[in-house]
Symmetry: C2
Subunit: 343 residues, 2 copies
């Protein structure tokens, strides 16, 4: 399979297909990637025309169905002809290197499991985000693919996060921590305390329980948590940021001194505000890779802009070029796991 | 029992006994409350002398032992002569109206259960915080007393939160929501989905799943969650706030325009920054009541300042005066529950 090809689920997300196709056009213009647009052919051709783009610059694969954002993952998975599942089929058939979708996270997980499947040794793939800290960033997983996790799942997330951090981010001995409500070993809940004991026996630079503040002050490289809390964590961060910006704006408009400050503040800090908002919105600055599947899958936020879709396609292409998946497979193989066995 | 008396565990917290006693002195000077100082008599007398306060202005009850902040709740509970447990004994014997402690949360929960016990119908008391929103605030429970919760516990938190919101905050028909990773009923984990179904059958203004942003934009009055997520939520909020303030300060120092802005910003927004930081730190702006015990118990943050202790004593006194506990008991009685039965 050459050259590199990325499949984009153009029917997924809140602004499909318009914004998704716009993002694909931007990515093509900037990097010349071979992008396969998967979705309703008529709608795709109409959007390409609107963007004054020759259809032959993209490969188009027609898909009859669409997965709705509010659908249950189990019904979504039965839609074999949905744009998302057709995109996964292309990856299973080795016709594309990666799949990018701004669609339903649960359906993405289900689609990946039922088409390309899991890597040997992995029982639950995990959605992985980069969280900004005071210097650099931390890798957090899972951020939404698995709401109910057992200790063995969290242990697998730790091992995959460690590999990702080493192979993709280039961190030598990533500090792996388990997100908890306190750092003492008596803290956490039953699942976390068992996981804590198991992680101590693994070949990891495991530093024990970490608290939210450790994530932001760069005291940990890989933050392990279940998908329920990981998702809440990101949503809390994002909503606090919006609230603060709102409150500041309100406060700064009060007096004349405040108004002047506000003006200068917006002039000089506008970029920071934008940057912060983007960094906390895991999809806006690219996409979240689903680690542990037998392929490269990236989920973007449902409300992704064209710019975010463009960045997600770029991230997918770079990951495909870097050979991360092959290295992850080799690393897992070195641990001695085989198909059917669990990490 | 009259007049009103509040017991303060002066040996609990990171800055005991000095800061706790300073807080008691401040509360006495401001409101003239009768405060019972529970702890090591010699140390208490020394601190009162340092503050140039006549010992006879306070009642002192000696307690031989101290519960360490890092102790396990189960060993802490066996320290019958600890300042915290002696304070609870005073409440059981109706010698004080309320107990305030900046000590160990787990030990506080255990101490309350083993001395004054639970209200009829309640199987798990819940620690309750007020979360600032764009207008007003939301009540969140549990924020740290129960890390592993079953649906029936979350249902009890919802009922108690509803009562608290009506009786103490004066909200007429509080909107009760269940904190989740999405508002669709397919979201949440197993425990939450069962709780969601059960809450629909209760006599509550139940609005279903809520997300973090709903908390901040005032779309919910009572936010129900287990103590693990509640605690992480607060810690996430607090640490994001600190990180943002740090990043802004750094960013604003970059250019000359930025420096000027920074100066004006600090002049005009200093108060807002302080206020925000305090509001997100549940203890700094008072204390968290432990709802569902047969008495009034308030936990402050371990690192509480004298000012926070003072505010906590004030909150305890107001709660005792308001007759909230009696009303909560009557309300539960109206529901028809008896000792041994569960809500």
């Amino acid at each position: 399979m050459s050259p590199l090809k990325i499949a984009l689920d153009v029917m997924g997300g809140d602004h499909a297909p318009r914004v998704n196709i716009k993002g694909a056009v931007e990515a093509y213009k900037k990097w010349g990637y071979s992008i396969v647009l998967v979705g309703n052919r008529d709608q795709i051709l109409r959007e390409l025309e609107r963007n004054k783009i020759k259809p032959k610059l993209f490969e188009i694969v027609h898909a009859e169905e669409v997965i709705d954002m509010h659908e249950h993952a189990s019904t979504a998975r039965r839609k074999k002809n949905s744009s998302m599942n057709v995109a996964f089929d292309l990856m299973r058939e080795k016709k594309v290197d990666a799949v990018v979708s701004p669609g339903h996270t649960g359906a993405f997980m289900a689609g990946a499991l039922f088409t390309v499947g899991r890597l040997p040794g992995v029982s639950r793939p995990a959605l992985t985000a980069s969280i900004p800290s005071l210097k650099g960033e931390a890798v957090m997983l899972d951020i939404g693919a698995n709401v109910d996790c057992k200790p063995k799942h969290l242990v697998q997330f730790a091992l995959m996060g460690d590999m990702y951090c080493r192979l993709v981010k280039g961190v030598e001995k990533p500090r792996v921590g388990l997100l908890s409500n306190g750092t003492e070993s008596s803290k956490g809940n039953d699942v976390l305390r068992t996981t804590d004991q198991e992680l101590k026996t693994k070949n990891l630079n495991y530093i024990g329980f970490v608290e939210p503040r450790d994530v932001f002050r760069n005291a940990v490289d890989v933050v392990v948590c279940d998908g329920f809390y990981g998702n809440l964590f990101l949503k809390t961060a994002e909503s606090i940021l919006s609230t603060l910006i709102f409150l500041f704006k309100k406060e700064l408009k009060r007096s004349i001194l405040s108004k002047l400050t506000f003006l200068l503040f917006m002039l000089s800090a506008r970029k920071t505000l934008k940057m912060l908002r983007r960094r906390f919105d895991y999809a806006e600055h690219g996409a979240a890779p689903l680690l542990g599947i037998n392929g490269l899958g990236f989920v973007c936020h449902g409300s992704s802009s064209a710019h975010a879709i463009r960045n997600a396609l770029h991230m997918a292409a770079l990951s495909a070029q870097s050979g991360f998946l092959r290295e992850l497979n080799e690393e897992i193989a070195r641990l001695g796991y085989e198909k059917g066995e669990e990490l």
